[in-house]
Structures are given as C-alpha cells and as structure tokens.
C-alpha cells in the first residue's frame, strides 16, 4: 500500500524556528502503524527542503520535495505529483503551523484529485479486502468509525497517538529527493489582508449582558445568572417526586436519553 504524508514547512509558534508540526509527525506515526509492507513517503512543495528534513528522524525514509517559489500555491504541484504516483492513502495535518493555518490544502487537493476526504482522524487500521478503518474524532471522546475502500485523503487530528521518538540514525539514513520538474508558477489566491502584531482579547463571559455593569459580569462569570437565576427550587419533596423532576430536567436539557430509548443511534 502506497501512503503519502504531506509535510508543510512549519514554524515554531514561540521561537519562529523551522519545525515539523506535531500533527504531521502524528500522521507519520499513523502511516507507520498501517503495516510494514507499506511504502511510505513524505511530500512537500516549497522553496526549501531543509525545513522538512526533521521528518526523516520521525519515521520517514524518503521525502519528495517539489521546488515551488515562496509565494506560490503548492496545491497544483502537489496534485500533479500525487496524480502521477496515485497513493492509496494521502495523510495530511489538520492545520499547518506557522503560516495561515487555514487547513485548506488537503481539501483543495481532494477536490483536485476528486478523492473523498475524511477529516480529523485519530486512528487508522487496515481491514479485509483492502478497506481502511478510520476513527474520526467527534469531540468529547466520541468517535465515528468510517470504513472506506479505495484511495482517500485523510487529515490527522491532534488527539491521535503521540509521534514516534526522533531517531538520529534514521534521520541520517533517510534522504530528501528534490524533483527536477519545475511546475508552472501559480500564485496563491491572495486576499488583501492587513497584518499587525497579535493582540490578546478578553475572553467573552458567557451570559453576560452586553454593556452590563461589573457586578453583572461577575454574576455571569460565577454562574449565578443564567440557569441559576431562573432555577427551580424544591423544598423537602417526596423522594419519588424529586427523582421524577430530576429525570425530566435531565431529559429536557438533552443529556439523558428519552425514556425507553436505548443509546441514541446518531451517525
């Protein structure tokens, strides 16, 4: 099985030094976990190959590098190379790091190659008949188990297993191949944006009225307003009545399945 791992040139959020984004290292581990018989390679489109050499130590033996000028869109170059190689699985990170962090590259690639895309995957395993079992994160520990057949683009979620340890020997043995083909320069679709240093903004306090007083904001922050202010109070009810009230309340807010229903069969 041929697996391509897409590597972006990440920058460390604090130091600004080139670094392999953690989620892409996790994607490499996910690829490595799919079997020893797999042929796994990294793919990067960008001006400089040095930025991604770290990925060799994280478990890749071979990285293909397509030289693309700094301001250009990497998607056409990546799509052309991937169409040529036709890997069974294309793994990417959920968001890149250090750039625009928009997470659009995998979607654009899936569109260009007309492949299905499964997002935010935390675990992948091989099933019978060449099918692939992907566990997609739904937040709060819930998963969606998707069975796919045929080539697919998968983005990796940060909740996936931690990356493999960096191995110096592997990093020395691995190689980065710069492809000779020079793709046509395609400038990235630029939107005129203004940039300035980041300014932290106060967290919004849930339930605080707009333009309220400080006392109202404090009340909202400690949770005294909202549900509490309109709350119901039962004093010394019969325990059976209390239980009925509690269950009705829990059902009304939707944390408990309705009476008689089993686990909700949501997909």
């Amino acid at each position: 099985m041929k697996i391509a791992v897409l590597l972006s040139a990440g920058l460390h959020p604090v130091s600004g030094a080139p670094v392999l984004p953690r989620v892409e290292a996790q994607a490499i581990r996910m690829a490595a976990g799919l079997g020893a018989s797999s042929e796994i390679f990294g793919l990067h489109a960008g001006p400089d190959a040095a930025a991604i050499a770290e990925a060799l130590g994280q478990g890749l033996d071979r990285i293909e590098h397509i030289a693309v000028a700094a301001g250009d869109d990497p998607v056409p170059a990546l799509a052309a190379r991937l169409a040529e190689l036709a890997p069974a699985l294309i793994l990417a990170g959920r968001r890149s790091q250090g750039g625009d962090e928009s997470g659009l590259v995998p979607y654009a690639l899936a569109r260009a190659l007309s492949l299905p895309l499964v997002s935010d995957v935390v675990a992948a395993a091989r099933e019978a008949e060449g099918a692939l079992r992907l566990d997609q994160s739904l937040g709060r520990g819930a998963l969606r188990r998707v069975l796919v057949r045929g080539p697919v683009v998968v983005t990796c979620h940060p909740d996936a297993p931690a990356p493999l340890a960096y191995a110096y020997g592997r990093a020395r043995r691995g190689r980065v191949e710069t492809l000779a083909v020079a793709p046509a320069a395609v400038p990235a679709p630029a939107i005129a944006m203004e940039e300035r240093p980041y300014r932290r903004r106060p967290k919004i306090v849930k339930g605080a009225p707009a333009g309220g007083s400080a006392a109202e904001r404090l009340k909202a922050a400690t949770g005294e307003s909202g549900s509490a202010s309109s709350g119901r109070l039962l004093i010394q009810p019969d325990p059976e009545d209390a239980a009925r009230e509690i269950l009705a309340y829990l059902r009304q807010i939707g944390v408990l399945a309705p009476a008689g229903a089993g686990a909700e069969p949501k997909i």
């Binding site: 569109r111 935010d120 937040g139 709350g231």
Partner: protein, 409 residues
C-alpha cells in the same frame, strides 16, 4: 431605570384646598398619589428578617427588600418580570448574512449561538440573518435568526453531499456573507463549501464586526484583518451571543434541486459514543458528583452507571480515599466543560464551584437550603440524597422495564 417624570404643577394642584376665602391654600403634608416608588418601611423590613420566636433576637440579613411575609420561606430568587419583548421583524432586508450552524440533534450548540451573534453584528439594522439548517432546529428566533432556510438532510455520514446541499442553498440565497462555526463539523463543511465554489475562506475569525474580521496567524504572533469576506469561520468563545429581543425566524422556501449522490468509497460509518466510564473528566458531557453528604457510595456508582454519566467527587471524598483522585472536581482537581453537572451532597465551596463554573446546567441535591450549590443550581432539591438515589434507580428501572415491553423488537 425609567421613573415617570415629575410634574410639579400637577402635584401642586393636587394639594390645593378648594374654597375658603380669596387666598389660595395648599396642604403641603399631603403627598401626590401614584408618584412612583413605594416608600420604604425600615421597621417592617427589619421585622421580616427576624427568624423564629426565641428569646434571643435573630435576624437573617440576607433577606433584603422583602418587607412582608414569612421570614425564611424560600431562597430569594430574583425573577425578572419583564413583559414579553416584541419580536423584531425585518421586512425587506438590504442584504443577507447566512449562518450554517452545526445544530447537533436539532439544538443549537453554544458555538452556534455565538456565530449567530456574530452574524447579527454583521447584519446590523438593515440586514437579515438567514440560518441554513438540515432538519428541524429549535430556538432560532431567540438566537437572532430573521430567516430560516430548512431542507431535509440525508441519513448517514456524507459530508461531501451535505456540502453540496449547503452550496445549492447558498447559491439560491445570494447572501453577502456566510459564517460557519470553526468546530469539527462546521470547519470541515466550510472548507468543503469554499473549495467547491472556488472562493477564499477566512478561517478562525476572532473578531467579527461590520468594520472587519480579525484572525490570528503564524502561531498567534500576528493577526490579519480584512473587510468582511464572503465566507468565514468563527472561532469558539470569541464572539458574544445575540442578546437582543427575539427575531422572526421566518421560513424561506428552499429553491434548487439537491444533487443526490451516494458517497463515493465510503462503505459504512458508525458512531461510537464516548464511554462515560472512561472518558476523561475534563471532556465529559454529563458528570454526576458525590460529596461529603453521601455515605452510600455503592448506590452512587449504580446511579452514575444508570444515568450514563461520568463520576466525579469533591475533594473530601478524594482525600478520604473513597473516590479516585482523578475524579476530583474543582480548583485543585479538574475544571469541567460538561453540559450538565449533577451534585449529590456537595456544599459548593468556592474551590469546588470554580470547577463547575463552565457547566451550563447544574442539578443539586442537598439537605441544606443555604448551601452554595443550591444557590448555583438550575434545579435544586432540598432533600436527603440517600433517599433520592434509590428513588432515581427505581424510576429508571421502571422506565427501562416499560420501554422493553412497549418497544417492538
């Protein structure tokens, strides 16, 4: 506060004493009737704060501003008695701002409400907010929706199909701006829609205003701003909910045909719910927690299992070794992000309440009417938790018995 405006002339005229001689006479001691606020009676207020009839005078000073009635009948609850606010109607909007909420299970999530608040900020007075939902969804008008475009969704996992349907709906709507929540589902949908229509997407906006949108970039070292683009996703907890009067949420007809395609290559998709017994406390959706007021922890564990909840505890129980340390809720334990917190026999110390501050709904059972947890709870039951727990178990067993009988196999 708006008090009625005083009218000195009318007040003066009211104190006028008619007749009796040529000289006009006024009764200055008579007060004009209906001049607004009732006069305070400090003595009566003090008397109302008095508790019991013992020899020693005892006052409950937390009972303020209640001059008459029983002293300690119930916890005072400030119930705002506002008259039902009028629904705002935008008849002919100058433009539309579309919102595509996640609406899991036909209910707006907190993040969806924030996106609606952002859309309202963009729409202003002239524009209208149009919500695009699959299936039914409740509470849209109160959250700030002027129009609702509803269409029937397909069953099963088909994100590409959903993106296609939303794309068709957006094309019919001709909205000036479209906002998505930057959540797992919403972010995925937004990217699919943007790529399919070949438009740029402004992701993860932290500020949404008519002046422009702002998002962080390069590891939060810079921020990028832009005049409101057509497609954007809104970061969680960055924009306030809509707080104005309810909106109309008028239904719009759905025009255009929905392309029906079977999802390519996807063989099956099953949802695996989080196992509440093993999910980390900080991620849990529904936490049932035990405090020092509980003695019967076996029944408590049964209740937790039956309610499909994650167990929590106060520090006292964890210190005593009755519950594992990782189940401690509070400042030195876990800060919850749960939707609902159910506290049994917990007093609600500040250190404990800090861990519960983010929970939307709180249910408390406590024997002490004056416990802080009772004050915090949306449903507060002043009763022995030891009696309520078996009652809950009985009721749940009864319901499941009925459900098994009634449900067709």
């Amino acid at each position: 506060m708006s008090r009625p405006r005083r009218d000195p002339r009318a007040e003066r005229a009211a104190t006028f004493i008619a007749g009796e001689g040529p000289r006009p006479r006024y009764d200055r001691t008579r007060r004009a009737a209906g001049s607004g606020r009732p006069r305070r009676d400090p003595r009566a207020e003090r008397e109302a704060q008095r508790i019991g009839g013992g020899a020693r005078l005892r006052y409950d000073l937390t009972q303020v501003g209640r001059p008459i009635g029983e002293a300690v009948a119930a916890v005072p609850r400030s119930a705002p008695v506002a008259e039902a606010p009028k629904t705002v109607i935008v008849e002919t909007p100058a433009f539309l701002v579309a919102v595509v909420p996640d609406a899991p299970g036909g209910r707006l999530s907190g993040h969806d409400r924030q996106v609606l608040g952002a859309a309202r900020a963009l729409a202003g007075r002239e524009g209208a907010v149009a919500v695009i939902v699959e299936g039914d969804c409740e509470g849209l008008g109160a959250a700030g929706a002027d129009r609702v475009l509803r269409f029937d969704g397909a069953k099963g996992y088909d994100p590409a199909g959903r993106a296609a349907r939303v794309g068709v709906a957006l094309a019919g709507l001709a909205a000036r701006h479209v906002l998505f929540p930057e959540s797992l589902d919403g972010g995925d949908l937004a990217r699919r829609v943007a790529v399919a229509s070949g438009e740029a997407l402004f992701t993860n906006a932290e500020v949404v205003a008519a002046k422009g949108l702002v998002r962080p970039a390069r590891g939060r070292r810079v921020e990028q701003s832009l005049a409101p683009p057509r497609l954007a996703t809104v970061a969680p907890d960055a924009v306030a909910d809509y707080a104005g009067p309810p909106r109309e949420a008028r239904a719009l007809p759905f025009e255009g045909s929905v392309p029906v395609e079977t999802p390519k290559n996807i063989v099956s998709a099953t949802r695996i719910p989080a196992d509440p017994a093993t999910v980390p406390l900080s991620l849990a959706e529904f936490v049932v927690s035990a405090g020092n007021g509980l003695t019967d922890l076996d029944t408590f564990r049964q209740v937790v299992t039956e309610l499909h909840a994650t167990p929590g505890a106060s520090r006292v129980l964890c210190d005593a070794g009755l519950m594992p340390r990782h189940s401690q809720v509070g400042a030195s334990g876990t800060v919850l992000a749960a939707t609902c917190y159910f506290a049994l026999g917990i007093s609600g110390a500040p250190q404990h309440l800090q861990g519960v501050a983010g929970c939307e709904h709180v249910v408390a059972v406590n024997t002490d009417l004056h416990a802080a947890m009772i004050e915090r709870a949306g449903l507060a039951v002043v009763q022995d938790a030891q009696a309520v727990m078996p009652a809950l178990l009985r009721l749940l067993a009864q319901e499941s018995g009925q459900g098994a009988e009634g449900a067709p196999l």
